[in-house]
Amino acid sequence: MGTKKQNKVKFAFLLDLESAYKTLLRNKIRSLLTILGIIIGVGSVIATVSIGQGASKAIQNSINSMGSNMLVILPGSSSLGGIRSGFGVLPTLTLNDAYAIRTLQAVKTDSGMLGMSQQVIWRGNNWTTLINGANSTFTEIRKWPVARGVFFNRQQVVSAANVAVIGNTAATELFGLISPIGHIILIHSIPFTVIGELTVKGFNAFGQDQDDVVVIPITTMMEKIAGTTWVHAIMVSAKTQKDTVLAQSEITALLRQRHHIPLHKPSDFFVRNLTEIAQAANSSAATFTILLASIAAVSLLVGGIGIMNIMLVSVTERTKEIGIRMAIGAKKSDILKQFLIESSVLSLFGGILGVGLGFAISSAISSFSPLKTIVTTEPIIISLVFSLCVGIFFGFYPAFKASRMNPVEALRYE
């Protein structure tokens, strides 16, 4: 018995939907104009959210391209006699610090870094570029493999070999179209054999060309070119992204101990976590998205008012029909339901068309601008549910008005 009744109800609902659909189809232009606001509203929600997510993804990618799970340890600033210098001035970080960090639980690999601008010469060509001293783990930490040739290995770092791996921009400037592998270049008048060329990395988030670089073993850099015993920075790769926070505190504790810093004194180094930077960038992208989405939500609201307007007109126009239905036995709730279903179908249909429009806009943006937009299911579902709610909310007053009509007066209406 129960299931039979349920079937009946389900079937009745389908009938109601079909009837609403037919009614709306009879007045195609008007129905379309009515839902135009919803279409534009939902379309702009989908488009703006896809732009926001695309932008956030782009920021994420650009930060990841510097190496995910990466931490950077920089020497601290000095504060002598009240004059404070900036970061990276004190010679507090050494390679031994890097070797010690390597033994920590959350740390996967490390690389001391020492960078310096130098002129590089190959035959008649010269090019001034960044010479970076690094460990053999550089490719892993920066997620930056070689395109051809090889990267230098541990032995070459230990023995301070005169080998170099060249970035794409520096290679093009020096060698043109010739493969740089196997050639001898002069850095600081010292001959280096080019053993590899890095893949193209592009610009970083701050607009620097990351490919304008020559990477040599950190030991070679310290002994033969810079002549120092300290490094500019230590790059560390944590085991996983979650481990970055743990690694940060482990490194801080270890270095404070190694540098004999008493508890009440500040550290003479800084540990920077790239995830933090990524989060800051993401949160600004999220703010942007919320701003755009709220503008879009206002237009959805305006669309809802458009629906209410037309539904009120429609109720007035169909007074006679309402009278007939009431005479035949329609209750208030039947009339209410009929018009609510109509406005809901209308706005949901507007929502579906709006999703289509949003897709079109976001793919147009993707193809005409460098930004790659991303459409996810979440905003689609949210805006469809929202447009359905708009239909029910703004359809309620006209439907309520219809349901309250007096059958005698409604029948008399011409």
């Binding site: 009879r26 007939i324 009431m326 005479a327 036995g329 208030k332 005698v408």
Partner: protein, 238 residues
């Protein structure tokens, strides 16, 4: 006093009781400060199976009487017993249910819903009664067969003649097996040939189905189909 809440719409017919009993039904309209007494203490009995015509000039109150009899409107005083139960105190939804199950309407202007097919129009009372199955379709087709429009079910109101539209309205009125059919100037928009054709079907459903027919008209020829004539004048039955 019956508040109407316990009104059982499906109650078995009380054999001793007339189908319709009006007791001192009065209707006063108030427009601003002025009151119009449209009906004055109407008393009326109509038995099951009767074919009654109500005549009267416009403004006589016959339309108001018709609306009250059809449970479309509520009187301002008096009691209306339908199948022995007082319906004068019922809510608008309860009245809607009575209209759905007990009363079929045929109007002067046919009052079909243009957007719906003939079959769907006839099925509409069943829809509001909660019937949506194939049975409802079968009932609607049977109704259409009775008015000789079995083959026009899939057409739309604007595709058939006025006389046919009025026959569809009759089919819609009887589809729920309503004991009362109220017809308000059913031939008013038709020529005499088509009108006579429509009246033939009222006679048929009165004779074959035993439906009680209450016909409002000011056409003496049409009123002549009825076996009892009620004349309303100045809000009273004369």
């Amino acid at each position: 006093m019956n508040t109407g809440n316990d009104y059982d719409i499906n109650n078995s017919r009380n054999s001793g009781e007339p189908l319709i009993r009006l007791e001192n039904i009065g209707m006063i309209y108030k427009i601003g400060d002025i009151s119009y007494e449209v009906l004055k203490k109407i008393n009326l009995l109509i038995n099951k199976g009767e074919f009654v015509s109500v005549m009267g000039a416009s403004g006589s109150g016959k339309s108001t009487l018709m609306n009250i009899l059809g449970c479309l409107d509520k009187s301002t005083s008096g009691s209306y017993f339908l199948e022995g139960k007082d319906v004068s105190g019922l809510t608008s939804d309860e009245l809607a249910e009575i209209r759905n199950k007990k009363i079929g309407f045929v109007f002067q202007g046919f009052n079909l819903i243009q957007r719906l097919s003939i079959l769907e129009n006839v099925m509409l009372p069943l829809y509001y009664a909660g019937l949506h199955s194939k049975d409802a379709e079968k009932m609607a087709f049977e109704s259409l067969k009775l008015v000789d429009l079995f083959e026009k079910g899939n057409k739309f109101p604007n595709q058939i003649s006025g006389g046919e539209q009025q026959r569809v309205a009759i089919a819609r009125a009887i589809v729920n097996d309503a004991p009362i059919i109220m017809a308000d100037e059913p031939t008013g928009n038709l020529d005499s040939v088509r009108g006579a054709d429509v009246m033939k079907f009222f006679e048929k459903i009165n004779g074959e189905r035993g439906a009680t027919i209450i016909l409002v008209t000011h056409d003496k020829n049409v009123a002549g189909y009825a076996r009892r004539l009620i004349t309303v004048k100045d809000g009273e039955i004369v």
